[in-house]
Amino acid sequence: MSDTVIIAEEVSKKFSKNIRETLVYGVGDVSRNIMGMSAAPGDIRKGEFWAVDKIAFELKKGRTLGVIGPNGSGKTTLLKLINGIFMPDRGRIKVRGKVGAMIQVGAGFHPMLTGRENIYVNGAILGMSRKEISRKFDSIVEFADIGDFLDAPVRHYSSGMYIRLGFAIAIHCEPDILLMDEILAVGDIGFVSKCFRKFRELREKGISWVLVSHDMGTIKCYCDEVLYMDGGKSISYGDPDKAISSYLLDMSRKKADISRVRTMREFTPSEEGRIVDIAFLDSRGLEKESFFTGEELTIKIEYIANERIESPVFGVAIYGSDGQMQTGSNTKISGFSTESIHGPGSVLFKMKNLPLQPGVYRVRADMSDSNVGIIDMLLEQKDLRVEGGNSGVGAFYTPHEWVLIPGGNG
């Protein structure tokens, strides 16, 4: 017997952008269905678009699928299709086992009722019997850790408390498949780590997990495979590193289009000299545009000094696609003595382990004189593209090694 718990076969869902069209189409579709007629869901009408377009994947028992993509890419709609909240307009989804969906925890809470009352109501909404809720009640309360607020109306709860209680109820449903949509963003660090401990415990029991998140660290840590969606379509599916790298690169490129204008600056070089070119070299000294995180990168700055310049200062700055400087240095800060230059030459800025995470970057080089200030500044027109490798997670990569010392005598 197959151990596949979710099979998505070219599944699609359409929406209308316009409220009036939603109304007109809605009345027509519901009326046709009420009369037992088909509303031709596979056809697209004026103003409609595919929010999820021919998505296909399979998820096996005990595995975790990460779904990533920019806002509006169809991730949440896909979760709702898997959960059976929305029906596909094309294709088919097959699900085996009890689904626990955390698309918006606490969605069934009544603000006037106390936390205690809402545990019973929400538990029933999520498919638990009264007996089951009573049995798990203490465990739910302990997990939510909301103290005396248990008997206060939930409208007096903070957003964090609301999420804690909703999450505690949802997690006690004992699902076979857990669908999660970026819901831990508002929890405090203690609660979030408690939740992840619980997830690990559930995974060990063999539950499958579909996780939508913008936190690539979480995706990288927990997911066995990743689906990268954009515009409702599957851009990449499978290996997490490949999908994450592809997503970060695309996002970086999209942002770069906006920020490029901001980071570009015209600078008229002084008569003393100018920067001629910037090149990116790999460990063999070969020029290329794309590097992996952690790879050796040398930025070569070619210059011409029209007259003798005493103790020039060369600087390099690397900008992210948002126009913010990510890293950089200059020869003065680094304590590198340049003495004097005259005529053409080049300066190399060597990074043994490129610390940048996947994305698109721009490099700026400048040359200055301690007396007259900046002589020239050049923003490289070519992007520096960084792709993912086994680079770890977080804002930047740090070269590292691990040492295990068993026995506690280290």
Partner: protein, 276 residues
């Protein structure tokens, strides 16, 4: 374990095979309907001064107004065999079970919009638990009628105890209409306003606050609500239903409407959450 399959218009394609599935899911939703009903009922009057008294204030005010208008000679309502107050209270109790039930049921999916498109919840449970809010109000009105018997020196027949059971047909009709209207309201929000207006109009064609002669108009004779309101009230006044054929026909009609509406709701309900 079998796969649950989600595909376009799954229930439309199922044809008559959908019937057993509908009822299986309805019975499986029993506990949820009860929980949602308790949730809404217990929260309803929590921040209210008069609380459950709100179930009796509107009919008492309506009846008092008509009595006053009658005394001033503005309207001339004469009922036989029973004090007018008891006639009107019994009529209003049955009518409001229908009117408040259908208005509340019609708005139920939209009012639960925050849940409908975020949780895979039984939509019929949401509608039926909302319609059920009219039941405790009706039972409170029954107590009001019972309290009115000694006040207006009316000795009720023993069969008046069947009054709460005799409203089952009108309740079934209310539930059926609410199912379909909640769907339509889900895609077209004017529906609940239209339903409110139509129920007001229907009240004029139904012997709620004043008697109507069915022989005087075919509209009265063909109005099932006529029999569904008159029948239970007859039990209070006479201890028997004066037009059992009409009541039976209207009851069968109610059951038919419920079955058709439930089926329509079931096969079209998947279109609503995405439009919330």
């Amino acid at each position: 374990m079998e796969y649950t399959v989600y595909e376009p218009e799954k229930y439309v394609k199922m044809g008559i095979k959908v019937w057993p599935m509908m009822f299986r899911e309805l019975f499986a939703s029993g506990e949820l309907i009860w929980r949602l009903f308790i949730r809404d009922w217990s929260a309803r009057y929590r921040q209210s001064l008069l609380g459950y008294l709100w179930a009796v204030v509107p009919p008492v005010v309506a009846v008092a107004t008509f009595v006053l208008l009658g005394k001033k000679g503005v309207v001339n309502i004469s009922v036989k065999d029973v004090p007018y107050q008891i006639y009107a209270l019994a009529g209003l109790a049955v009518w409001q079970l229908f009117a408040t039930g259908v208005i509340s049921g019609c708005g139920s999916l939209v009012n639960s919009g925050g849940m409908v498109n975020k949780i895979n919840i039984s939509l019929e449970a949401l509608v039926l638990s909302s319609v059920a809010q009219a039941i405790p109000e009706f039972l409170i009105k029954c107590l009001l009628i019972a309290a009115a018997f000694p006040v207006f020196r009316f000795t009720p027949p023993l069969a008046c105890l069947l009054f709460p059971l005799a409203v089952i047909p009108i309740y079934v009709l209310t539930a059926g209409l609410s199912l379909v209207l909640s769907l339509v309201n889900g895609v077209m929000r004017d529906t609940v306003n239209v339903v409110t207006l139509v129920t007001m109009f229907l009240m004029l064609l139904t012997p709620v606050l004043y008697p109507l002669n069915p022989a005087s108009s075919i509209v009265f004779r063909l109005n099932p609500l006529y029999y569904l309101v008159q029948g239970p009230r007859d039990l209070v006044i006479y201890g028997r239903i004066t037009d059992p054929v009409g009541f039976a026909a209207a009851s069968l009609f109610s059951m038919g409407v419920f079955l058709l509406c439930f089926r329509a709701f079931y096969i079209a309900k998947t279109k609503v959450p995405e439009r919330m």
